[in-house]
Symmetry: C2
Subunit: 215 residues, 2 copies
């Protein structure tokens, strides 16, 4: 019934009295004439449309009650697409090998974090393991461009590119960092922040954490 009301609204029946036969409506909504006719009757009985039959044909207009119903739907959809681009990844805290501390402290990365993310990261990362059912948004990060942290060379070795995503974790702003190397695990994320998240948030291995990604 709602879909028919919406179809009428898209033909401007909230703004003008619409001349439409049940046959024309049937074609519009891809249903039988009988169904179209029955749906109009239902809409009329619910007070969502007003219908007038004259010798010139059938005229239909959406009432205020009908408009209110459509507006409620509109607000629902609006809510769905507000804050679009943001999503949440849930994962479980685990202890890394302490590599994070080493990498984050490297001047070549640190400078870029400051410039491109707007904070000086605490030297260390919070590691999260992403369970199977949460992989949908983890996989999204691999498709997304994110913020590019360039690789660099020192005398000893080469450091690869890192992709970063601004995020929020229990109200604290930080960033997900994903090294762009082939063998980096697909079910892990590492988070950097201006503070030591494990301490500030009182986290221990095995705790669940929700990371809001601000895309």
């Amino acid at each position: 019934m709602l879909q028919v009301l919406k179809a009428l609204a898209l033909m401007n029946a909230t703004r003008k009295v619409l001349k439409i036969s049940s046959k024309e409506l049937a074609e519009k909504i891809g249903q039988s004439i009988q169904t179209a006719s029955r749906k109009l009757k239902e809409l009329e009985d619910e007070g969502l449309i007003e219908r007038t039959l004259t010798k010139d044909g059938q005229f239909v207009v959406i009432t205020d009650k009908g408009k209110e119903l459509l507006y409620k739907e509109y607000l629902d959809y609006k809510r769905i697409f507000e804050g679009e681009g943001e999503f949440v990844i849930k994962g479980k805290v685990f202890s890394g090998l302490g590599e994070g501390k080493y990498y984050v402290s490297l001047e070549g990365y640190k400078k870029q974090f400051e410039e491109k993310l707007g904070f000086t990261p605490y030297p260390g990362t919070l590691n999260l393991r992403i369970p199977k059912e949460q992989m949908f948004f983890r996989a999204k990060l691999d498709e997304m461009d994110g913020i590019k942290i360039e690789g660099f060379k020192t005398k000893e070795r080469t450091f690869g590119e890192v992709k970063a995503f601004k995020c929020r974790i229990n109200g604290i702003d930080g960033a997900i960092v994903i090294p762009q190397r082939t063998h980096y695990p697909k079910n892990v994320i590492e988070i950097i922040a201006p503070v030591k998240l494990r301490e500030v948030l009182g986290l221990k291995d095995g705790d669940w954490v929700e990371v809001e990604v601000i895309a």
Copy 2:
């Protein structure tokens, strides 16, 4: 199916992986567990959601395809409520008794038309008779406040209040004027404009005209 997808989206399943049992969903959508379960299956088969079953329960997330479908709906509703407040009244041209010319020319009204409507009206009105099936929006004018044109007194007599509504008629800006006296006919509107509409639009008695009301 769309309504279930929307319900999931309102539970944020476009932004996070949602843990939800078929029982919980059934309660949300006011349907049986069986129906809820079947709709989830259908949504999954259509590629609109991804579903994961683990020992911890059922997890659901809306895919990009699902989001696109919802977004299409959103755009439809947005279109419906764009230019909201505007509507169209259709009526048939008829000749009045020439009273319009007299009233519009009265300084007491004319000054207010200029101030409140932004144009000097051609001395005369275009009369439209509104057929039964078009009465929905004609009746709306009686409910709406419109622009108040104050009544006034001369030595000879009293002139009553007039309600005006800005409008557009075949691209020309004008206004509907409705004298606020008890016996003014409910199925008539009179239109004033900076030009002689009958001439500029080549109208004769019996012609249909669409008046866009800018509310």
